[in-house]
């Protein structure tokens, strides 16, 4: 019997998800033994035409990381959707836009203007802007078109499952891989479509070992401004920790190391907008009933939008800044 086929792709991503897959250590050998890896641009040399030549639904499982922000990302997302039986949004970027999704706070023009004309590291006077089409002596050269709005994978194609995290934790990836191998070897039924794999239903606070008391906050600070108590809830100490509005599954690794949760596992079950939910939670623990004092305390939140929507802006209710 031929081996099931596995594809791993990166769209607008940093490569951290691919490294996280390799981080499952010796279990990667189980993956190689069980699957025929037919497409993994980050690790091996494949061409898009190899995938185009495959029959539809011939790839058993595709792990797709990275958000969709160019014509190339979109084209390959559509291609892999057509060729795959199961398409899995792997990591924060594919699941909810991730860090690239923060580009939605600006327009494409403003981003290009800064990157290609104003950035201090540029050669002075060189105002070269990327062109989708350039005629070179060798012929017409085309590059992908950059989009104004970054999208999550499920906004552009049909997605079967989601594995959240920036990156997904290796123990969770190993558990998902083991479960997939078990399902395929023993003919077990797949979980319902839309299931979030490698995570739980609750919030990061549920896994956090720090002591929680009644929270009464008079002002917010950044972690470096204060020597934090290692045993007490960071939010109680005035540090904006995304734990209350973030799905559990990572094992609360950041908060265990004294770093506030950044929210990479996305919104928990039944929450549509992670940033709005965080705003709701944070505002409720502010210790004031005086409108002016409330404004002053809110002013002390460092970069509220970038913090609340660090990973989920592209998947949030409003998707982007209106410009």
């Amino acid at each position: 019997m031929p081996k099931p086929k596995l594809a791993i792709y990166w769209a607008a991503s940093c490569g951290g998800c691919d490294i996280a897959i390799l981080d499952i250590e010796t279990k990667i050998l189980d993956v190689a033994a069980f699957f025929d890896v037919i497409f993994w641009p980050c690790a091996m040399d494949f061409k898009y035409d190899d995938v185009r030549a495959m029959p539809d639904k011939s790839i058993t499982l595709t792990l797709f990381n990275g958000s969709i922000r160019s014509s190339e990302n979109y084209e390959i997302a559509q291609l892999l959707r057509a060729k795959s039986v199961v398409l899995c949004a792997f990591g924060s970027c594919a699941a909810e836009g991730g860090i690239p999704g923060l580009a939605n706070f600006h327009s494409k023009e403003a981003i290009c203007e800064y990157v290609y004309k104003q950035s201090p590291s540029l050669e002075p006077g060189n105002g070269t802007m990327p062109q989708p089409e350039v005629r070179a002596p060798e012929g017409l050269v085309r590059i992908p078109v950059l989009w104004n709005t970054v999208r999550s994978l499920d906004q552009v194609v049909d997605v079967d499952y989601v594995i959240p995290g920036c990156p997904p934790q290796s123990d969770q990836i190993a558990a998902v891989v083991a479960a997939v191998i078990d399902i395929l070897s023993n003919g077990k039924p797949l979980p319902p479509k839309g299931t979030v794999l490698g995570a739980t239903e609750k919030t990061c606070c549920d896994e956090c070992k720090r002591t929680r008391n009644v929270k009464k906050i008079k002002g917010f600070i950044r972690p470096f401004e204060h020597l934090t108590d290692p045993n007490v809830c960071l939010l109680e100490q005035g540090i904006v920790c995304m734990g209350p509005a973030t799905r559990a599954g990572c094992g609360a690794k950041c908060v265990s190391a004294g770093v506030p949760c950044r929210g990479c596992y996305g919104a928990p079950t039944n929450v549509r907008d992670q940033g709005a939910k965080m705003a709701s939670a944070l505002a409720s623990v502010i210790d004031s009933t005086d409108p002016e004092e409330i404004e002053r305390i809110l002013d002390s939140i460092p970069d509220p939008l970038g913090t609340f929507y660090r990973f989920s802006l592209a998947e949030s209710t409003l998707r982007r800044t209106q410009v």
């Binding site: 104004n148 549509r272 907008d273 705003a279 505002a283 939008l305």
Partner: protein
């Protein structure tokens, strides 16, 4: 035809909804632009409700609760009092005029005040014009989805 704004009103069960009811039973007239949603407490109004209302076509959102100190659940309206300013900051960051969200305290006996608030807010939104949110749904044609 002049622009008629759509306003979603979240009214607390104990004070503001009763206040709105009083305006009705006293036959006071106010613009029909307001669509009321009764919530048990203004503390139930999640910032997500407000953003969702805008996404689904509201031009303004009015949140009304008991006067501070009078909350049926002791401090629900105090939570609302802190959530709405933070929601306004989110709106500003998303490019929506924060004035499209209004928080008012209306007691069960203030039918006349409720009428004034709704009339004034409607007039203000008429002047501001419709809220148009762009690029919420993915449109391949708009993005130049395919290679040039």
């Amino acid at each position: 035809m002049s622009f008629e704004p759509k306003i979603i009103g979240f009214l607390c069960n104990w004070c503001s909804y009763t206040g709105a009811d009083l305006a009705g039973t006293a036959r006071m007239k106010y613009p029909a632009n307001l669509m009321s949603i009764r919530v048990m407490c203004s503390g139930r109004v999640d910032p997500g409700f407000v953003l969702d209302a805008f996404r689904r076509g509201a031009d303004g959102v009015l949140v009304c609760g008991c006067h501070p100190g009078d909350c049926h659940y002791v401090d629900g309206n105090h939570k609302c009092m802190r959530r709405m300013p933070l929601t306004r900051r989110i709106m500003k960051g998303m490019g929506i005029d924060p004035a499209r969200l209004r928080l008012e305290w209306v007691s069960a006996s203030e039918g006349a005040r409720f009428r004034e608030i709704v009339s004034e807010f409607t007039e203000q939104l008429r002047r501001m014009g419709p809220l148009e949110l762009k690029e919420i749904e993915f449109d391949p044609a708009l993005e130049g989805a395919h290679h040039a």
